[in-house]
Amino acid sequence: MSAFTGQLVRELQLAGRARADVLNPVIFLLLAITLFALALEGKPEVLREHAPSILWVLVLLTNMLALDGMFRRDLDDGSLEQLLLSPAAAGIALLDKLLVQWLVTGLLIVLLSPLLGMILNLPATVYPLLALVLLAGTPAVSFIGAIGAALTAGARRGSALLALLVLPMLVPVLIFGVSAVNRALEGEAPRAELYWLGAISLASLMAAPFATQAGLRITLEQ
């Protein structure tokens, strides 16, 4: 078993055992969308009109909740320090961590997207495109967010700080994401937006392992 798959299995096992950590943010997302539906008094046309914006803002916030604990357990029990001892293995291990972080939030949201679309009263014809847009955009949220999580893992009041650092950098994802869903609702294929989201996700996948590693080293030094 290579280092990559070994670490991947470990991360997946850890995620499987801390089920509450995985499920709580997603339940928060469902709850928050329900609150929006209630606050807009369940008016279907109002809900549908604002659905893309509501959905994307809440996806970002849900990710902030999920990212908050990304490194904390490993930091507390000392395994993070072991992980970073060898620079070569650290890169691979962090890549695994990033992928699993996306699997348990981004991919989960993608799988839930038909349900979210239903609560927001979107027509069933856009569900495939909605899932595709989320599939293209959520990796960027997890990977860019992980850089912030690495920097704030050891900080006091880390969660508010994490959001403050990361959310401004996620403005492009929000804009292209909302624009893509809007275009899908108009019956067009949101090609340009999807390309942009995919490009941002891939670029952040390249940069994030290095930046998180540097951030974690800083966190451990304190």
């Binding site: 700080l161 403050l164 950098m169 492009p172 804009i175 624009s179 800083i218 304190q222």
Partner: protein, 261 residues
Amino acid sequence: MKDMLKRLWHRLGSPRWFFQMMAPWQWWLGLLAALLLLTGTFWGLVYAPADYQQGESFRIIYVHVPTVIVAQSVYMALGISGFVLLVWRMKLADVALKAMVPFGMALTALGLFTGAVWGRPTWGTYWEWTDARLISTLILLFLYFGLYALRESLSSAEAAGRGCAILAIVGLVNIPVIKYSVEWWTTLHQGETITLTRIRMPPEMYIPLLINLLGMYCLFGYVVIARMRNEILRRERETTWVAAWLRGKKDDVGNGVIDGH
């Protein structure tokens, strides 16, 4: 030439050398900034002709434009300092990072404020959510907030510096994408917003603007060097040269030249 630059680069590794070298620079830049800003502002506010469309209200350009341009330059300088700090571990780069963040934050806030004040008579609104430049400046302000907050929350000074360096670099890489995305968004939404008509400015209008822009850059230099020198004193307060410098200051015999031993 190459050797000179190389020597300068190595000397920048010594905060003490920087502190001593920059003392005259600080005062000259301060003086120059005051002169230029006073000239440019006075010229712009009193002598420049009024705009044929906007009347007198356009004069806020002489404060607004230099502020915003320099606010963006400060973030660029932050990213470069961050890179220098991470690659060469230069202590001075960390001092520069710390010195520049509040200045850049204040300029960005001032830029937003003057923009809003200008927007009221020109566009009929303080804030326009469909204008790309307003939004990207607002996001720049949040990026500055993030840098400031991160430094506040990391306990060790060294860790705080390197953390801010990473954040500044990531932010700098992100800024073009943010700008592009915001423009994308506003061109989709664009409806009845009145954009500032691109008027060809006559020289008597843009020369004071250039003077103020130059003055603002000098102010940037002055403020950052002054704050950096203060920070160096604070960080090196246990060393003999700071003690000697302070003594020299008190006895008023040091004359700015310090002999460390």
